[in-house]
């Protein structure tokens, strides 16, 4: 929630082509995009529109075929290596929780700190604190397989927050959950984001989820993926669930839905 307007993430002429069986597919067309520090940006689009590809390029999990991704002032890539000086500030939450089944919940949450060489006692204390924050207190010593999908995803969020990243990238994190759990987690994500004050890039194909969470929504059109429409969502924070009943909210949803139908 900083008032800074300096871009935190910047895509300059970024493009991604995939080649398979001598056929090249343009997944993400030449894209320029700036994301402010502290902004909650939503990438919305139908499946196959390249929104996940775009997010994975920002995460440094795949390299753009052309163009540059900047985190702060720095190039995300140094040669063929991820620039660890900037990627250490990135947290990523995937559609699957991707918890390691051989670690207890608290050890999963503490994993990033372990890799950074933080002492065991200190990192487990931090992990327990985060489990409280995301609402899975009391399950610290459980195995991941003993938890529900929603709780596993909470643990994944706690893990990505453990090293206080400036930027949180979320790839349909609640896509595999039921609608009730999803609404609840959206509300809690907002609370956590307001508390942590990080920049969030959130990928979803749910229009209401996008409108509820986003400061700004970028609607992507498929084949090739490119930014079609930009919508700013003006509602003040924290937004209660009841906001979805407001005519202004409905109008935004309606506008996005019509546009989405037009491009698919």
């Amino acid at each position: 929630m900083t008032s800074s307007t300096a871009p935190d993430i910047r895509l300059a002429g970024v493009e991604k082509r995939f080649t398979a069986d001598e056929r090249t597919v343009l997944a993400v067309d030449r894209t320029d995009l700036s994301i402010r520090a502290g902004e909650f940006l939503v990438l919305l689009g139908p499946s196959g529109c390249g929104k996940t590809t775009m997010l994975r390029m920002i995460a440094g999990l795949i390299r753009p075929s052309a163009g540059t991704v900047y985190i702060g002032q720095h190039d995300l890539w140094v040669g063929s290596e991820r620039n660890s000086a900037v990627t250490k500030d990135l947290g990523v939450v995937f559609q699957d929780a991707n918890l390691f089944p051989w670690f207890s919940i608290e050890k999963n949450v503490a994993l990033p700190l372990k890799l950074r060489g933080v002492q065991r006692k200190e990192r487990l204390a931090k992990a327990r604190e985060l489990c409280q924050l995301v609402g899975i207190g009391g399950f610290e010593s459980a195995w991941p397989r003993q938890l529900s999908g929603g709780m596993r995803q909470r643990a994944a969020i706690a893990r990505s927050l453990s090293y206080d990243p400036h930027i949180l990238l979320m790839d349909e994190p609640f896509g595999a959950l039921d609608a009730i759990t999803r609404d609840q987690l959206n509300l809690e994500l907002q609370r956590i984001w307001l508390k942590q004050g990080c920049t969030v890039v959130f990928v979803t194909h749910s229009i209401t989820e996008a409108a509820f969470l986003g400061d700004r929504i970028l609607l992507l059109s498929p084949r090739p993926g490119r930014i079609d429409t930009e919508v700013v969502v003006p509602f003040p924070r924290p937004r209660p669930t009841s906001i979805q009943m407001l005519p202004e909210f409905q109008a935004i949803v309606q506008r996005l839905r019509e546009r989405l139908e037009a491009i698919t």
């Binding site: 995460a59 440094g60 999990l61 991820r82 660890s84 990627t87 250490k88 990135l90 947290g91 990523v92 995937f94 699957d96 991707n98 390691f100 089944p101 051989w102 670690f103 994993l111 990033p112 372990k114 890799l115 195995w143 991941p144 397989r145």
Partner: protein, 263 residues
């Protein structure tokens, strides 16, 4: 609920008793020669004789020692080499024809060669036990290392994990269920290796005792030794199960064994 549970617990003992009864009446009613199938009581007498003979302990210990040492050697080399091959695709491609070739050789056919090379002592049997157990452990380790989940890899990439951290926190624990599955097959093959080795050379071990019983037409004793070997095999199998619960308590297979142990 509880009385029903008790009843299901009786099924296994009832099956064993039923089997022994059928065996007994088959042999007596059909007048089967006791040189073909001895009656259960004779096998029981032979088993008592076997277990009260002082030299049995020496034979059992010899077989157990060869089995366990062979298995241990196979595990160490199998896991180390399997990890290396699993992590180095070009090496695996290059080594694959050799692995397949050595795997399709009927390894029992190599036993005379090993006796020629390593003598009639325990060494040749240890080598046979190790060679037999080696391949399932190797191939399972390679499979385990290679089938690390892509989502888990992404997590480690995002966290800038180095090669060593990737190995310790991801690849090794992720491959352990497969490695232990290989070991479960391997330990049973190790016993086979040790016993077959003892058939052909030396004067110790339960394999030797089998051949000696056969040569003396002591069919009851033959059955008793087979029974003893089965019990040893069963105990070693349980040992791997215990290892599984100790090493991978997080894995579903550990709880399956727990449930199986309760029945």
């Amino acid at each position: 609920m509880s009385w029903k549970f008790d009843r299901t617990r009786l099924i296994t003992p009832a099956l064993i008793v039923g089997f022994v009864l059928i065996w007994h009446f088959y042999v007596t009613w059909f007048n089967v020669s006791k040189f073909i199938v001895p009656p259960p009581l004779e096998v029981w007498d032979a088993l008592v004789e076997l277990l009260t003979t002082p030299s049995t302990l020496r034979h059992t210990w010899a077989t157990l020692y060869e089995t366990l040492l062979g298995f241990l050697i196979a595990s160490v080399i199998g896991v180390a080499l399997g990890t290396m091959l699993g992590k180095t695709p070009w090496l695996e491609r290059a080594a694959n024809p050799f692995i397949v070739a050595t795997q399709v050789v009927p390894k029992v056919a190599l036993v005379p060669l090993f006796i020629l090379w390593f003598g009639f002592g325990p060494e040749s049997k240890i080598v046979v036990a190790a060679v037999l157990a080696f391949f399932p452990i190797l191939t399972n380790t390679v499979l385990g290392i290679k089938s690390v989940d892509f989502g888990h890899r992404d997590v480690m990439t995002v966290l800038n994990a180095n090669r060593w951290q990737n190995f310790v926190s991801l690849e090794l624990p992720s491959s352990l269920p497969a490695v232990l599955a290989g070991m479960e097959v391997g330990i049973v093959l190790s016993i086979i290796g040790a016993v077959v080795g003892e058939y052909l050379g030396g004067a110790t071990g339960l394999g030797y005792l089998l051949v000696a019983s056969m040569n003396n037409y002591k069919v009851g004793m033959l059955f008793a030794v087979i029974l003893l070997l089965t019990i040893i095999g069963f105990l070693l199998y349980l040992l791997i199960g215990a290892l599984r619960r100790l090493v991978i308590p997080w894995h579903e297979s550990a709880t399956i064994n727990e449930r199986a142990a309760k029945v």
